[in-house]
């Protein structure tokens, strides 16, 4: 085992997550996938697109599709407030995709020990998009499985 490998393992122990609120719950997004966080702006509706896509926005000259995670999880539709943000995810396959969240709270570092992976006890609709529950002090954070969130293979 060389030194470089040891360093890697040390760094891999903790991952950073962006904590957002959607409804009354807190969700975590792996920071490695997050390209950008932008304020709410005018979203242009795209006719005949998938129902959970709100449309497209102009992100500094690029056209980026924006998805409503609430619609995808079957929650009630977004209400845009001053705190609403669009989180731009950078994905290898799909390129950039934005998701709408109610509020961005903070960035936390969680180790594997802080994340409970055995949370198969729910039958909520959004359970499919969660791959663990993170414990940060007293609060619980549902960690999104980003690839599942943006996976459209069931729709197309």
């Amino acid at each position: 085992m060389s030194e470089a490998n040891l360093l890697d393992t040390v760094e891999e122990e903790k991952k950073q997550y962006i904590v957002v609120t959607i409804g009354s719950e807190q969700y975590g997004l792996d920071i490695a996938f997050v390209d950008n966080i932008v304020r709410m702006q005018k979203i242009t509706r795209v006719p005949k697109s998938l129902p959970h896509y709100r449309g497209v926005i102009n992100l500094r000259g690029e056209v980026v599709p924006v998805m409503s995670i609430r619609r995808k999880m079957g929650l009630e539709d977004d209400v845009f407030t001053k705190a609403s943000r669009i989180i731009i995810l950078k994905l290898e396959e799909q390129g950039n995709v934005g998701i709408v969240v109610d509020e961005v709270k903070e960035v936390v570092s969680l180790g594997q020990d802080d994340i409970d992976q055995n949370t198969r006890n729910t039958n909520r609709e959004d359970a499919n998009f969660i791959n663990g529950i993170g414990k940060n002090g007293d609060s619980l954070i549902s960690i999104f499985d980003i690839n599942k969130v943006v996976d459209e293979s069931d729709y197309i």
Binding site: A4, R45, P47, V63, E152
Partner: protein, 704 residues
């Protein structure tokens, strides 16, 4: 001398010479006595030879030299031209093109000697000089040789087939003579490994405890520079029998995925070397050694990319950049416009600084208009720089039709016009394959056999036409033949047989619908599969390729008389003039090129045909399309009496799009919307308006 900086020019010019050779040889076949053509060919072959020589591509030089010899004899009248010779010459051209491909991919000519071809050329010369015009039948020489070298490369494990030069073989035999054993190893590194060279070094280090590494492949220099894929090979001389121990030592290095190994003898490599002399390349030659021009035999330059490396190199990026040759006049006008742009910017700056920010005076508006004119002009100039004539793509077709004509035994001729028509470079690059499909289709399925043609009272020689011309914002390329045409009854029967439609449905289909079946995936009409067409991958690929470029294909056909395939392509890809319209509070753009006119129509003028809304306008019946319904906008509370209708055209047909409001004409930049949302035909893209808002572009062609 380092010639790598001339590589791009070499590739460009070689392409040109190959094309002009191909054209001239075609001409020569028709008029074997035309001395001008022979001279032209001689010149082109001579330049090719010279350039290949300068670049140090010995094999290419050798081949072109022998071609030149033949032309020399033709020129002096010692040899007569017949189709045998023409075939050989075309084979030679193919071989040169292959060299060029290899050069493009690896900046080296590869190791194909094409001895068979060269021998054929010389045989032809000799036999012709002996007064006997008979030459060996033209066989495809190149594939045979290729197969041979493939065999050599595809040994069991990679270490068995690494190239070993004389020096290396000497080392191997010396080690055996000294009572040592030889082991070959192929080491696979884990794909995620970041420091491949370091891992390789650790492997070498571990092995050196057991014995001496005699041969590295790739060379140790390349391995050090990380110039290798995920595997490397080595041959080790050792006194110990402990091969398992060595494997263990190698796998103990982290990020090594697997090891293949076995005992080898010097003979293993001696045989290989004999079987494929082409692969004989010094494995340990210094990596960057440029070819010393004097040395003969296998060029040392080949060492850098010895044969297996060249195989692996196929997946790698070509070393040359894609280029466009630009007329200096175009650049001059571009420069002029940029100067004007700077002047316009300066006057705007001076206005804003002198008048304290009050912008509603006349000079300001004049300047804005001026600026607008300049940017439009600038856009046009830049587009023109990207435009190249389709000539470069269509030029290879006469040769292809000639080959097909001989292969199929059907006399036919290709007539081309409008080769000077210009299109965006990207489109020109990609239009070649679809056009080739269409032409092959015409040659194979369209043109009948001479006997049938005679019966039908047509000239025995079939004609295929390729016409290109500009029409508005589109370029039209037509492939027309005077052959059999499409037998709609047969296509219908086939569609029923395939279960695509029921027999009853088939009766009601229009001719156009039936012809459209031909564009469906895996719908081939050929009774037997030939290598020319008929694998059922033809027309649907043509259609999807052309649609990917933003164009479309149309077919008209008359049974017994021939068919016309019309390919319509957009002139430009990135920036278009568009009409901005409004539906409720949403803005949309419609490409100006597809708009015929705009009409104000009172509600009472709407008529109904088959329960669909149409309007009767200047003798034409035009179907109405309610854009608000298509885009699922909120229904309007009350419809006004006057409707604004944008009439769009596609080919001969018209349609009227009902919109709420017209905003005006605007130059828009087309942006893609990202994959996840891009699954709808109605919207062809998006654009960003002056206020930063995104507006969608309605694809008028999809409305028909």
């Amino acid at each position: 001398m380092d010639v790598s900086q001339y590589l791009d020019i070499f590739i460009d010019e070689t392409n040109e010479h190959i094309q002009s050779l191909s054209d001239s040889i075609m001409e020569l076949e028709k008029e074997p006595d035309n001395m001008d053509t022979v001279n032209e060919i001689f010149r082109a072959a001579h330049s090719l030879k010279g350039m290949a020589g300068t670049m140090g591509f010995k094999r290419m030089q050798h081949l072109t030299h022998d071609m030149e010899n033949v032309f020399q004899e033709v020129r002096s009248g010692n040899v007569s031209v017949n189709s045998e010779l023409i075939d050989i010459l075309f084979n030679c051209l193919d071989a040169i093109e292959k060299y060029l491909e290899t050069v493009k991919a690896t900046s080296d000519e590869g190791t194909e000697d094409n001895e068979v071809l060269i021998k054929k050329l010389n045989d032809y010369l000799n036999s012709a000089e002996g007064g006997d015009g008979e030459a060996a039948p033209a066989e495809d020489a190149a594939p045979a040789e290729e197969a041979k070298s493939d065999d050599a490369a595809d040994g069991d494990a990679a270490y068995l087939s690494i190239p070993v030069d004389d020096e290396g073989r000497g080392k191997l035999s010396a080690a055996v003579d000294a009572g040592q054993k030889l082991y070959g190893f192929t080491v696979h590194i884990h794909p995620d490994c970041l420091l491949k060279a370091a891992r390789a070094f650790l492997v070498f280090k571990a092995i050196e405890d057991f014995g001496e590494i005699l041969i590295y492949h790739p060379s140790s220099q390349d391995i050090e520079d990380e110039n290798f894929e995920l595997t490397f090979n080595m041959i080790v001389a050792s006194t110990s029998d402990d091969m398992d121990g060595m494997i263990k030592a190698i796998t103990a290095v982290s990020e090594i995925e697997s090891v293949e190994s076995g005992e080898v003898t010097p003979d293993t490599y001696a045989e290989k070397a004999e079987a494929a002399p082409a692969e004989e390349a010094p494995a340990e030659a210094p990596a960057a050694a440029p070819a010393p021009a004097a040395s003969a035999a296998p060029a040392p330059a080949a060492a850098k990319q010895s044969a297996p490396a060249a195989n692996a190199g196929k997946a790698a990026k070509p070393v040359t950049a894609r280029t466009v040759r630009v007329d200096i006049e175009k650049l001059d006008s571009l420069m002029n416009q940029v100067s004007e742009l700077i002047i316009a910017k300066n006057s705007l700056v001076s206005i804003s600084s002198t008048e304290g920010g009050s912008f509603d005076n006349q000079t300001f508006h004049e300047q804005i208009e001026y600026l607008e004119r300049i940017t439009t002009g600038l856009h046009e100039s830049v587009m023109k720089v990207r435009m190249v004539p389709i000539e470069s793509t269509v030029n290879k077709f006469p040769r292809m039709i000639r080959d097909l004509s001989r292969k199929l035994g059907k006399p036919m001729e290709l007539y081309m016009s409008g080769e000077e028509t210009e299109l965006d470079r990207t489109v020109v690059d990609q239009i070649g394959d679809p056009l080739q499909h269409l032409l092959r289709n015409s040659a194979d399925h369209g043109i009948e056999s001479p006997e049938v043609r005679k019966e039908r009272g047509k000239p025995e020689q079939g004609s295929i036409f390729l016409n290109a011309f500009q029409e508005g914002n589109n370029v039209i390329i037509q492939v027309r033949d005077d052959g059999n045409g499409i037998d709609t009854d047969k296509v219908k029967a086939k569609a029923v047989e395939r279960g695509i439609v029921s027999p009853e449905e088939a009766e009601n289909l229009s001719k156009k619908d039936i012809i459209n079946f031909l564009f469906m995936p895996s719908f081939s009409m050929a009774k037997e599969i030939t290598d020319i067409s008929g694998r059922g991958v033809g027309l649907d690929v043509v259609k999807s390729n052309i649609e990917a470029l933003g164009g479309d294909v149309e077919v008209k056909s008359e049974f017994g008389k021939g068919s016309v395939f019309t390919v319509r392509l957009p002139l430009t890809l990135a920036i278009i003039q568009a009409l901005m319209i409004e539906v409720r509070d949403e803005k949309y753009a419609i490409a100006l090129g597809s708009i015929s006119n705009i009409e104000n129509i009172s509600k009472s003028e709407i008529k109904y045909v088959q329960a669909k809304e149409v309007i009767h306008l200047r003798g034409m019946v035009i179907p109405l399309i309610r854009l608000d319904e298509l885009i699922e906008a909120e229904p309007k509370e009350e419809e006004s009496d006057n409707l604004i209708v944008v009439i769009v055209k596609k080919g001969d047909s018209l349609a009227g799009i009902v919109v709420d409001n017209l905003i005006g004409q605007q130059e828009i930049v087309i942006k893609s919307m990202g994959k996840v949302i891009d699954n709808n035909k109605l919207i062809s893209g998006a654009t960003i308006l002056g206020d930063g808002e995104v507006a969608l572009i309605v694809d008028a062609n999809a409305l028909f």
